[in-house]
């Protein structure tokens, strides 16, 4: 029996769905699964019971929330796909600010009939069974997740950082060599350290490591020793890590003595 899957997008750049739609094995995916719902790709179907729902995007409007809850009610398993769904994404950076103020800054005194909010991860609203990280996720991982479900199992999530893939690939370390603010040490692996491989410091697009093992404090300390300012470190780490519990606190701790 083919598994029924649904693929959904809340507020995002649609990159995760696009990545799913552009996997090389797309036609095999269509063959091996019953795609019950995928608005970006198909005008057929509506939210109905599925074995597995994949959801990208952050909850950024009242409508998103409503839709997400409906998806959850209709899915046996829910997978949060991508940095927006897992940590709120780049728009999640505004976390902690007042929505009304930001709205005003952008829309002035105009009124819009939909209710917007600051982007938040799915787990704030519903139970998430698995995370498929990435911004966007890698083709290999998308296939791995789907395939493990297809054989009646489930994926093993990575809990080690980009650094280790960087080393497995033999790339020169940009943090040691060029003192560039690489976030590889606290970012969940899976991209085969793409950016360090291009001599670009990782900006942590896959999001911080799960299980409380993203050591923002240790890394901030090293950055500080390399002469970076607190504002700079914070600004960089928050791009994908703002909604990681204790990120702010961990960075503050490193700069405590100074303030």
């Amino acid at each position: 029996m083919k598994l029924r899957i649904g693929i959904h997008g809340l507020t995002s750049c649609y990159g995760c769905q696009l990545r799913m739609a552009s996997v090389r094995e797309l036609l095999e995916v269509a063959e091996n699964f019953e795609i019950a719902y995928w608005y970006m790709v198909s005008s057929k179907g509506e939210i109905s019971h599925v074995d597995i729902a994949f959801v990208e995007g952050s909850v950024s409007t009242a409508k998103d929330e409503e839709e997400l809850k409906k998806i959850r009610e209709n899915a046996d398993v829910l997978v949060a796909v991508g940095s927006c769904a897992i940590y709120g994404g780049v728009q999640g950076m505004l976390f902690g600010k007042e929505y009304e103020e930001i709205f005003k800054e952008v829309y002035g005194d105009n009124k819009i009939e939909f209710e917007g909010r600051i982007g938040e991860p799915l787990k704030k609203y519903v139970k998430v069974d698995y995370n498929l990280p990435g911004c966007p996720p890698e083709e290999e991982e998308i296939i791995y997740y789907l395939a493990t479900f297809a054989i009646g199992s489930y994926p093993e999530e990575k809990d080690y950082p980009v650094c280790t893939e960087c080393r497995r690939k033999g790339y020169p370390c940009v943090l040691i060599e060029k003192n560039e603010p690489c976030l590889g040490p606290l970012t969940v692996a899976g991209c085969d350290a793409r950016c360090p491989g291009y001599n670009v410091a990782c900006i942590g697009c896959r999001g911080p490591l799960p299980h409380g093992i993203a050591w923002f404090d240790s890394l901030a300390k090293t950055f500080k020793e390399k002469g970076m300012s607190k504002e700079y470190i914070k600004a960089r780490m928050e791009i994908f890590g703002k909604q990681y519990e204790k990120m702010d606190e961990m960075i503050e701790k490193v700069f405590e003595d100074e303030d």
Partner: protein, 425 residues
């Protein structure tokens, strides 16, 4: 107004992002496009960030055009900081950009638009009966993706393009690979153009309109400093606020562009209308023999023009790959720390404008105007005209009208995520 019938679709399928459409039929006919995608406030996200980080955030505005949303802010930043990148960087960036054009157009045509033409819900079911057609689409998409993977590090959110150049230059053998593949897929591109020759455009959406496109630096390119309108007027990008204004509608998180107070169009059709004489090679031949398919007043021609562009850009990539000899060079580091800069490029869906102000390496102000925000009002008019035309000509099947209205919208290839990145003027 008493509403007799209403077409309402909360969530349009097969477009990028989340929007709905409402058509009300009564004494008069009204249409509006509800952009329900949540706001993401990119101007605020990038504020107070180092420019390098800002340039990494911008692509996240939209995955379909993440390359334009990387390369355009880079150019604006470089303009602000007086960075003059090398010729090689310019060439590679152009190639990267063209790769994105091919992929984006291929995805849009094959995944979103063509199923409409053939009467399918989606490309996946279409693929069963039209496997060869679908293979063309996948080949084109894969080719575009390959170019972006090689030069940009990946096809979505390319991190290799950085201020002053590239983190790592592609290897010569990778360029060779691009060249080889380009020649392999050109037939698929031509077949795409030919696909559209079997279809006529609905005349209901015929309407005189202004087309805005870039005045390219060289050839039928994507980089330039000036914007030309089909009314003959042109202006340089730093004056954009004088001619392009935006307003807000209560049913949309996206702002809506006007040129001299009027709705206008941007995108593949606008580029061909304004710059067709710059086309070369096979694309030019195809255009010459099928010029009746380019109708400035009909937005359906946009799909045909996208297909033409695929041919053009693949040939161009092949030509560039033929000539380029990768030289080792370092990225150019800016001497300045402050400045104000503008950039405009032609994203797959049309003009994309970035404005930045930098103080001590930190972004103090950033403004982005995306193509979808520009053409939204025009798209709404076309959607309305489609519904009205059909209704007045005796079509009473609301579902059918709804489908056709969706087709109009899809012809534009709107990018809703882009449109709600949210702009501040």
């Amino acid at each position: 107004m008493k509403i007799e019938r209403e077409i309402k679709n909360d969530h349009l399928a097969r477009i990028e992002g989340k929007a709905g459409v409402v058509v009300e039929i009564g004494d008069e006919i009204r249409a509006r496009i509800n952009v329900t995608e949540g706001p993401r406030f990119f101007e605020i996200l990038t504020k107070e960030k180092n420019y390098e980080e800002a340039a990494a955030i911008c692509p996240r505005i939209c995955s379909f055009c993440s390359i334009p949303h990387k390369l355009t802010p880079l150019e604006a930043i470089e303009n602000a900081l007086d960075v003059e990148v090398t010729e090689q960087t310019k060439l590679l960036r152009q190639m990267l950009y063209f790769g994105n054009m091919v992929e984006s157009h291929a995805l849009h045509l094959y995944l979103f638009a063509i199923p409409d033409y053939l009467g399918y819900h989606d490309a996946l079911s279409m693929a069963k009966e039209y496997p060869d057609l679908m293979k063309n689409g996948m080949d084109l998409k894969n080719f575009g993706a390959m170019v972006q993977n090689i030069i940009g590090s990946r096809e979505i959110h390319p991190e290799n393009a950085v201020v002053g150049g590239f983190g790592k230059l592609p290897e010569q053998h990778e360029i060779e690979k691009i060249k080889k593949m380009a020649y392999n897929v050109i037939d698929a591109a031509v077949a795409t153009v030919e696909f559209f020759l079997d279809y006529e455009y609905p005349s209901y959406v015929n309407l005189e309109r202004n087309h805005l496109a870039i005045k390219p630096h060289n050839g039928y390119g994507v980089y330039g400093d000036e914007i030309v309108a089909s009314d003959g007027f042109y202006f340089s990008v730093d004056k954009y606020k004088e001619y392009i204004e935006e307003d807000i509608a209560p049913y949309s998180f996206a702002k809506r562009g006007k040129y001299k107070g009027e709705p206008f169009m941007v995108g593949a059709l606008s580029r061909i209308v304004n710059n067709h004489n710059l086309l070369e090679g096979k694309a030019k031949e195809l255009l010459n023999s099928h010029s009746e398919f380019v109708k400035a007043e009909n937005s359906f021609s946009n799909n045909f023009c996208q297909a033409l562009e695929i041919v053009y850009f693949i040939e161009k990539i092949a030509e560039m790959a033929e000539n380029i000899k990768i030289r080792k060079e370092e990225r150019v580091k800016p001497d300045k720390k402050d400045g104000k800069g503008y950039a405009v490029t032609e994203a797959p869906r049309g003009l994309l404008i970035y404005e930045v102000e930098i103080e001590n390496d930190i972004i103090k102000y950033m403004n982005v105007i995306t193509p979808t925000a520009m053409f939204l009002p025009m798209m709404e008019i076309d959607a309305r005209n489609m519904a009205e035309g059909m209704w007045k000509n005796g079509y009473k099947d609301i579902d059918l009208i709804g489908k056709k209205v969706e087709m109009v919208i899809r012809a534009y290839d709107p990018c809703i995520s882009c449109s709600v990145h949210v702009i501040r003027l």
